[in-house]
């Protein structure tokens, strides 16, 4: 057999041997990435503010094992998350469901951003107005608010 044909033959044999193993791994055992994709959406309820996929405690190792087992049983991501909420409460979720007081977490940041933008816009408009008025009328501006008000009244009656 020519060396080129021999190499092709060995390559085909290698591929045939590798394929069933690969297919078996896909069907049976969930990969670490699949487990961590779900674990990342959950938080360790014992050690605060640590996602489950990077938490090193024994409890977290057990919970990742539970996720793996449930994936092996064919449970969906939502089913697994629901199970964890039922067992350990809503605080295990990285993003809490938008109901009850949880709404505040969704409403406050954009509302604060919007409010801040409005205040900033108003302040900037106020800063620009005196500058424009000063440019339009060379008359000196009264610094005393009472005098300013008096001048306004006089202007109205003129």
């Amino acid at each position: 057999m020519k060396p080129r044909l021999l190499r092709l033959f060995l390559l085909l044999v290698g591929l045939l041997l590798w394929m069933p193993v690969s297919a078996g791994a896909q069907e049976g055992e969930p990969t670490d990435d699949e487990v961590n994709a779900i674990a990342h959406q959950l938080y360790c309820p014992v050690c605060e503010n640590i996602p489950l996929d990077v938490c090193p405690t024994q409890a977290c190792v057990q919970w990742r094992g539970t996720i793996r087992q449930m994936l092996r049983e064919g449970r969906t991501e939502e089913e697994i998350k629901d199970y964890f909420v039922q067992q350990y409460g809503e605080r295990v979720l990285a993003t809490p469901p938008a109901r009850g007081f949880n709404w505040l977490a969704y409403v406050i940041p954009p509302a604060a951003f919007l409010g801040g933008a409005i205040v900033l816009a108003q302040t900037m408009r106020r800063w620009r107005r005196p500058a424009r008025e000063e440019a339009a009328s060379p008359a000196p501006q009264a610094e005393d608010p009472f005098i300013e008000r008096l001048e306004q009244e006089l202007r109205k009656r003129a």
């Binding site: 057990q62 919970w63 909420v85 067992q87 350990y88 809503e90 605080r91 505040l104 008000r149 008096l150």
Partner: protein, 188 residues
């Protein structure tokens, strides 16, 4: 000489600034919520002499215990987890105490805190624990007790009043016996 009419009030100053009022109401409301949450988190565990919150515990084998139905009996409530190393220090002593006091009407309830069932059952098997044990579903019981960690043990008299509280593991069987005797004396 004609008298000048009085100065007319500035219309802008008369108009209520609804935007400002709404913002202040929102800020004060938010502060009230934060204050309420802060007070709750600073409350600490239930005090001795206070009434415990009633709860229902479904055990790993499906039996349901309701503390309201156990009035007249002394209850020992132990919070534990299989991943909790200090819990192991008192596990055998708790079972021994259960064996000693079950004939005197003392009910032991093990509340399994944020754990996985296979590991919890393996733990119970390892220490030969025979009293009622079940998971704290949704951490509802531990939240009601404002529990800080495991192990924590509460001994309650026949009226549902907390007689003693142990934060951390019991040091010896004698310590558990003393807590239960005190609760039995307090119960009529």
């Amino acid at each position: 000489m004609t008298q000048a009419p009085p100065l007319s009030p500035d219309p802008a100053s008369r108009r209520p600034r609804w935007g400002v009022i709404v913002v202040w109401v929102c800020v004060l409301g938010l502060l009230a919520i934060l204050g309420f949450a802060l007070i709750r988190s600073q409350q600490g565990p239930i005090n001795v002499g206070g009434r415990i919150p009633d709860f229902s515990l479904t055990t790993f084998d499906g039996q349901t215990y309701n503390t309201a139905d156990l009035r007249g009996q002394v209850i020992l409530i132990n919070f534990w987890a299989s991943w909790c190393v200090p819990c192991e220090e008192e596990a055998a002593e708790l079972e021994q105490a259960h064996q000693q006091f079950q004939d005197r009407g003392v009910v032991f309830l093990g509340v399994n805190y944020v754990d996985t069932e296979p590991e919890a059952l393996a733990y119970l098997d390892r220490f030969g624990i025979s009293y009622a044990n079940g998971p704290d579903l949704g951490t509802a019981i531990s939240q009601a007790f404002r529990m800080r960690g495991v192990p924590e043990t509460y001994v309650v008299d026949g009226q549902g009043i907390l007689v003693s509280r142990k934060i951390g593991p019991y040091a010896s069987l004698q310590e558990i016996e003393a807590a239960l005797e005190a609760a039995l004396v307090a119960s009529p």
